[in-house]
């Protein structure tokens, strides 16, 4: 078992149970980049979804081109283009090393959030569109028959219902987003993958460094999946209009089995 003997258990233990403050800085970076990029991605997706339904054809065209372009090209290319290319293209440094007015935010982090948000927006447009399409047309007709304008009907009737349809795939998108932030390492953002790579460059221990960072991603996505399950439960509860206790839900799941048992006996 020479392979196992080669693992430096001490480093692995340190990385998992006693991470240093540099790691925590990186972890915080991974989290806030994910949250910010997802947040702006949802906003962009919502805007693009509404533009797609516009009566004004250039808005529909723009929305279509946006999805075509950003779903059709690799996200790493988009990240590089935003960080390096936009600078050359526009002749201004859009993302200087630190953006002073954002409290000293690193330019690469800023560019990374922009690139990931724009990419995410294209996917969110499709998810939001599907959510809106899933709402019965009768809902919009009822709203209009009550004197609502299209805008008000969207805001008060259609979007709140579409939100319930959108939440599960949105959760999956965020799960993906947390992992995709690792690509920002390639433009010099020291998030947790970048941190692992720097450590690896110092100690040449790839198994220990990358296994431990994989575990940390697993921690992030697992914590998120628990939060997501809570959100989904809450939404389905308010739709039913009552809360079932764990025992009642267990009883519900059990009742078909009981009914079958009675039928068989």
């Amino acid at each position: 078992m020479t392979l196992v003997a080669a693992v430096d258990w001490h480093i692995l233990w340190q990385r998992i149970f006693h991470p240093d403050h540099v790691f925590f800085d990186a972890l915080w970076k991974t989290i806030y980049i994910s949250v910010a990029a997802q947040f702006f991605g949802v906003l962009l997706g919502l805007m693009a979804a509404l533009m797609r339904m516009s009566k004004f054809w250039p808005a529909r065209l723009l929305s279509g081109l946006y999805v075509l372009l950003f779903r059709g090209t690799p996200v790493i290319v988009q990240i590089f283009f935003v960080y390096f290319g936009a600078n050359l293209l526009f002749g201004v440094d859009l993302f200087p090393r630190t953006v002073g007015w954002l409290g000293g935010l690193n330019g690469a982090v800023f560019a990374g959030i922009v690139a990931l948000a724009v990419n995410e927006g294209a996917y969110m447009r499709e998810i939001i569109r599907a959510g809106i399409d899933a709402i019965d047309k009768g809902q919009l007709e009822a709203a209009r028959s009550l004197g609502m304008t299209q805008r008000l009907a969207m805001r008060r009737v259609v979007l709140p219902q579409a939100a319930r349809v959108i939440v599960p795939p949105l959760g999956n998108e965020f799960n993906n987003m947390m992992k995709t932030t690792s690509l920002l390492f390639f433009i010099g953002v020291s998030e947790i993958f970048g941190n692992a790579d720097v450590n690896y460059a110092n100690n040449f221990k790839p198994v220990e460094e990358f296994a431990s960072v994989a575990l940390w991603y697993l921690v992030l996505t697992t914590v998120w999946s628990v939060i997501q399950a809570q959100i989904e439960r809450k939404l389905s509860v308010s739709e039913r209009g009552e809360e079932l206790s764990f025992r009642e839900r267990l009883a519900q799941a059990w009742s078909p089995v009981q009914a079958w048992g009675r039928g068989a006996l």
Partner: protein, 256 residues
């Protein structure tokens, strides 16, 4: 009959769906406090006609006026141009509509469904809207269901909430699009009872329905449509005792 007594004036309404000619010149006047039942075989255009009244469908010809104002269009130099979304929306506030499939907002309670449009469209203060909504829910017999979501109500209860929701806008005219045809037979009666009460209280109503019992009880006039036209109209008694048109006789023999 003075002109101000006419709530609905539809003249020569034309409608196509692609190559299908659905309404071939429908004209109908409805006076204040009158209840008109529209009957006819499926595909005869009755639903399309009442959907034209609140401009859920555009017209291809003719005109519709409610309380003397042209619905959905603006007249410029003798030609009709479609009105702005905002002013069509404003016109719809005086026309209540009840749908076959209720179309209650599932994410809001019975009370919230009723106050939604008064608060957010008319700008009625919330406390006032709630008080009025509670009175309306009591009127349709659902006062105790105010905080229940539509998913927990029976079809008959949902339709009664939908009627209360439409009434909350204090409309001049109520449209009912086959209000009982999606309901279980045992709950049809409770919905028809609410509608009959409304008719007796003097609401102006147009009801697309095959419920001839309701027509006999509450309607002032019955209109028979077939193939995009009104082919016969008269009192409910006329339809029960001496329908003239051959198509009417055939149709009534099937549903009675």
């Amino acid at each position: 009959m003075s002109a101000t007594d006419v709530v609905l004036r539809a003249a020569d309404v034309q409608k196509h769906f692609g190559r299908l000619h659905v309404l071939k010149g429908v004209s109908l006047d409805v006076r204040r406090r009158e209840t008109v039942c529209i009957i006819g075989p499926s595909g005869s255009g009755k639903t399309t006609f009442i959907r034209c009244i609140n401009h859920l469908e555009k017209l291809d010809g003719g005109r519709i006026e409610v309380n003397g104002s042209l619905i959905g269009y603006r007249e410029r130099k003798g030609r009709l141009a479609e009105d702005s979304e905002r002013s069509i929306a404003r016109q719809r506030t005086q026309i209540g509509m009840v749908f076959q499939r209720f179309n209650l907002f599932p994410h809001r309670t019975a009370l919230e469904n009723v106050i939604e449009a008064p608060v957010h469209v008319l700008g009625v203060p919330k406390e006032q809207a709630v008080a009025e909504a509670e009175a309306l829910l009591a009127r349709v017999g659902l006062a105790e269901k105010r905080d229940v979501y539509p998913g927990k109500l029976s079809g008959g209860q949902q339709q009664r909430v939908a009627i209360a929701r439409a009434l909350a806008m204090k409309p001049a005219l109520m449209l009912f699009d086959e209000p009982t045809s999606a309901l279980d037979p045992e709950v049809i009666g409770e919905v028809l009872l609410v509608m009959a009460e409304l008719a007796h209280e003097g609401m102006t109503m147009i009801v697309v329905s095959h419920e001839m019992g309701f027509a006999r009880e509450a309607a002032d006039r019955v209109v028979m449509m077939d193939d995009g036209r009104i082919i016969e109209e008269g009192t409910p008694e006329h339809f029960f005792e001496s329908p003239e048109h051959e198509r009417t006789k055939q149709f009534l023999s099937k549903i009675l």
